[in-house]
């Protein structure tokens, strides 16, 4: 094995490979940072170029774009409250408050460091754990997937902010909107127009919900908010801050690796999952959502951790987990390589070259991220009155460019108004989003399980994986109820004393 590795190192360490990766990462970071432009788009646009590149170089380019864009999303999430990609939505929760408090640079640095660590851990697992993780992922059938989604929905309790009830209301709205369009059997729901038949796009909903309310708020309450530019305070990330978040970074990376390896889950769910875990276990848990560096670290380590891991089912089984790895599968096939167990027999040289090349991505990500984030930080100096209209224009163009669909733009604007109404009513937006992301997976897998068992509920309790997630769900719900109960009692005990 080591001999092959050394040989692979020699074959991968060429200037064109490094150039392709560096260009890919940097391009990915910039595209990811632009609201509305996603990693999927970057990878799809780059696909035709890879027809002319050697196989390893072209896959490295696509992987680099994916990784770059996953980090890049955090830049706009932190600085302008507009997640560039869905996987950065969770970074907004603590990143933007930090930027408002003048610690934007610090948050960006934390995001970069945790992204790189997550990326590195994920690459290492791709290297050593591809086969076992892929086997585990295959065993996750519809019932197990359903239980995992049920557990993931308990995240709502962690990201609801002050009121759990408002959080649950928000999540229910998200679940409701997720049902718009075609269901898995091909019947239509809420298909009020031809466009609604294909459902609401993820990116327009996401950006509408997070970015636009800020703009509407500025127009409606003109003088109340300060419209000055944000101050740029201390930008350096101190060693003690890093050490304080290290546990969350490592845990986030591992969550990312495991969830990323299961086809269909993806980096955004991993980010929310890790955030929820970090909040539950951190001693600063109560401060999450108000600008806690650890929250940024948890979210960013998990989404980049998932990134490399999505390659596991692709390479080991030939099963792409999301659209981006789907495009990569296409790129493999174009070059006559078929991902799957045979790849490791027939093209071991290429596989090792790919693994070695991917290992370098963490380093490139750090350099490209550092340079880009530095430039983007200056955005914070632009006065809000100038910046927000620019963001609106970028969002509208970005959304339109995804599918040249005016309907997506309508969804963006309507969701902006909905988001503003929610802001006024103090309803948190994050539970809405996570429910919107998880809703279809939750529903589809429930219906799939029941189709397989022909209506027998016993199907959900047939494997230890299902039981495990079921137990975790029950435990988490009980803990949440106990916490709420304590809060309620404290309040009740506090009220009479203050009255007397």
């Amino acid at each position: 094995m080591w001999n092959e590795l050394l040989f692979a190192f020699q074959s991968v360490a060429t200037l064109p490979n490094f150039l392709a990766m560096f260009a890919g990462i940097w391009g990915g970071v910039i595209i990811g940072a632009i609201p509305g432009m996603t990693g999927t788009m970057a990878v799809t646009l780059a696909l035709p170029f890879t027809f002319y590149l050697p196989p390893v170089t072209s896959i490295l380019l696509l992987v680099a774009l994916y990784k770059g864009s996953t980090y890049g999303g955090s830049i706009s999430a932190i600085l302008i409250k507009t997640p560039g990609t869905a996987s950065a939505a969770c970074t907004v929760l603590d990143g933007y408050p930090l930027a408002r408090a003048g610690k934007g640079g610090k948050a960006l640095n934390m995001a970069l460091v945790s992204s790189c660590i997550g990326d590195f851990i994920s690459n290492i697992s791709l290297f050593f754990l591809a086969m076992p993780l892929a086997m585990f992922a295959l065993r996750v059938g519809p019932p197990e997937f359903f239980m995992l989604m049920a557990f993931s929905l308990t995240i709502v309790a962690s990201i609801s902010g002050r009121s759990l009830v408002l959080g649950i209301i928000s999540a229910c709205l998200g679940l409701l909107l997720a049902t718009v369009g075609e269901d898995i059997y091909g019947s239509y729901r809420f298909a009020l127009s031809e466009d609604m038949k294909s459902g609401l796009g993820m990116v327009p909903v996401l950006i509408g919900l997070f970015a636009l309310p800020e703009l509407i708020k500025m127009i409606v309450f003109r003088s109340e908010e300060n419209t000055e530019a944000m101050k740029l305070g201390d930008n350096r990330l101190t060693l003690s801050e890093f050490r304080g978040s290290l546990k969350s970074i490592c845990r986030g990376s591992l969550i990312g690796v495991v969830l990323g390896a299961i086809p269909g889950i993806g980096p955004s769910t991993a980010a929310f999952f890790s955030y929820s875990e970090a909040r539950r276990t951190s001693k600063n848990g109560d401060k999450f959502g108000e600008g806690e560096l650890e929250g940024v670290a948890a979210s960013e380590s998990a989404n980049n951790g998932a990134c490399g891991a999505t390659m596991i089912p692709l390479l080991a089984l030939g099963v792409p987990g999301d659209v981006i790895t789907g495009v990569m599968l296409g790129a493999f096939m174009i070059h006559g390589l078929t991902p799957g167990p045979l790849l490791f027999q027939n093209n071991l040289g290429e596989v090792y070259a790919l693994f070695v090349g991917i290992l370098f991505s963490s380093v490139f990500l750090f350099i490209a991220g550092k340079a880009t984030a530095g430039a983007f930080t200056k955005i914070s100096r632009i006065p809000q009155t100038l910046l927000l209209p620019c963001i609106l224009i970028l969002c509208v163009y970005g959304i339109y460019s995804i599918g040249a669909s005016p309907f997506d733009v309508t969804v963006l604007l309507v969701m902006g108004v909905v988001g503003f109404a929610m802001m006024l009513l103090n309803i948190p937006a994050a539970p809405f989003l996570i429910a919107f992301i998880l809703g279809p997976m939750f529903e589809d897998n429930m219906r799939r399980s029941l189709a397989i068992s022909r209506g027998d509920l016993g199907v959900f309790f047939q494997s230890w994986i299902s039981w495990g997630f079921f137990a975790l769900t029950v435990l988490f719900v009980i803990l949440t109820i106990r916490r709420e109960w304590k809060k309620w009692r404290e309040k009740r005990d506090a009220t009479p004393t203050s009255a007397s």
């Binding site: 799809t44 295959l138 898995i184 089984l317 030939g318 789907g326 096939m333 100096r381 163009y397 460019s401």
Partner: protein, 329 residues
């Protein structure tokens, strides 16, 4: 300090411009600018790969004007189809059509686009489908499978994109051919996309499936799945021992299969049609096109079929089955 933003806006505008270029000028020598080719399904799928392969090959014969692939997905491919059929008939917006463009109107009477709402420029490729089981299954032949289905009283499961999708029809046509109830003899478990379907069989979550060869070949070659039957006019080169539905005497299943074609909006000018006939004639023998087709498991059929007669027969096949199975009255 605005440089980054400006760069971003420029990029956004450039992409926008390439995707929505619609000219008002009358073309004297078509093509005089970039041609948009709409792929109605997601990136990385069969339609997307076919579109990109065609775009890459055709650009050598379109007088240096590029063919730009745009994915317009959703609603079973009908979003992209509707976009093209409602575009200006100037030859700058074309559709990489799939079997779904004939299947959807055959199954939904309220389809947003009819099967014939286009100018048919040509058929491109046929993509065989394979009926497969997990390699660990006790089912060794197609007869074993049919016996198992009969004995199980509806408890066997198969994965498909939906009851009225092509990979649902592939199984239902077979069941109907052997006088089983196509809707209840075996239970359909819906999944989205070829790779999710393949993973369901690989993980042993369903008993069998019949989907596009491209999604299954790697697993069959790796020994993880067993091919029982092929839906294609003749046996596949890669699977010389696996019989086709036709030779086993399954009349309806024998006609089911995937394909790609090139469509434009209805009423394309004659010079555009003539140009594309010439371009496709060149593409048909182009080594790159044939090579890319082989790599994704499909067979080039450019020039083999009269497009409108072929699409009409496909529409009638699925329309007949939809009526017989009770999807429409």
């Amino acid at each position: 300090m605005f440089r980054q933003l400006k760069k971003a806006a420029g990029l956004a505008a450039a992409i926008l411009a390439t995707t929505t270029m619609i000219s008002t000028a009358q073309a004297d020598a078509y093509p005089e600018k970039a041609i948009t080719l709409v792929a109605p399904y997601g990136a990385g799928g069969a339609s997307d790969l076919a579109a990109r392969a065609l775009a890459e090959t055709a650009r050598n014969y379109t007088d240096g004007k590029p063919v730009v692939v745009v994915n317009k997905t959703g609603n079973g491919g009908m979003n992209g189809a509707r976009f093209v059929s409602e575009s200006k008939a100037d030859g700058y917006t074309l559709l990489l059509s799939r079997v779904g463009m004939a299947l959807y109107p055959a199954v939904y009477t309220d389809s947003p686009v009819g099967w014939d709402a286009y100018t048919f420029l040509g058929m491109l490729e046929s993509t065989p489908m394979i009926l497969a089981v997990n390699a660990n299954s006790d089912v060794k032949t197609i007869d074993d499978l049919l016996t198992k289905i009969k004995d199980s009283d509806g408890a066997t499961t198969y994965a498909a994109s939906g009851p009225t999708a092509i990979d649902g029809f592939s199984v239902q046509a077979l069941l109907s051919d052997v006088d089983l109830d196509p809707l209840t003899a075996s239970t359909l478990v819906p999944y989205k996309g070829g790779s999710a379907l393949a993973a369901a069989l690989l993980g042993g979550h369903v008993d069998f499936l019949a989907i596009a060869a491209g999604s299954l070949m790697p697993h069959i070659e790796a020994g993880k799945m067993r091919a029982l039957m092929v839906y294609s006019p003749k046996r596949m080169d890669a699977l010389p021992d696996v019989p086709t539905a036709k030779e086993l005497g399954y009349t309806q299943a024998g006609q089911v299969g995937g394909w790609s074609g090139l469509y434009g909006p209805k009423g394309l000018p004659d010079d555009v049609v003539a140009k594309w006939t010439e371009v496709l004639g060149n593409v048909a023998t182009d080594a790159q096109w044939l090579d890319l087709a082989k790599k994704r498991g499909s067979v080039s059929i450019i020039g083999d079929e009269d497009p409108s007669a072929f699409v009409k027969s496909q529409f009638e096949l699925y329309n007949g089955m939809a009526k017989q199975f009770g999807y429409i009255q």
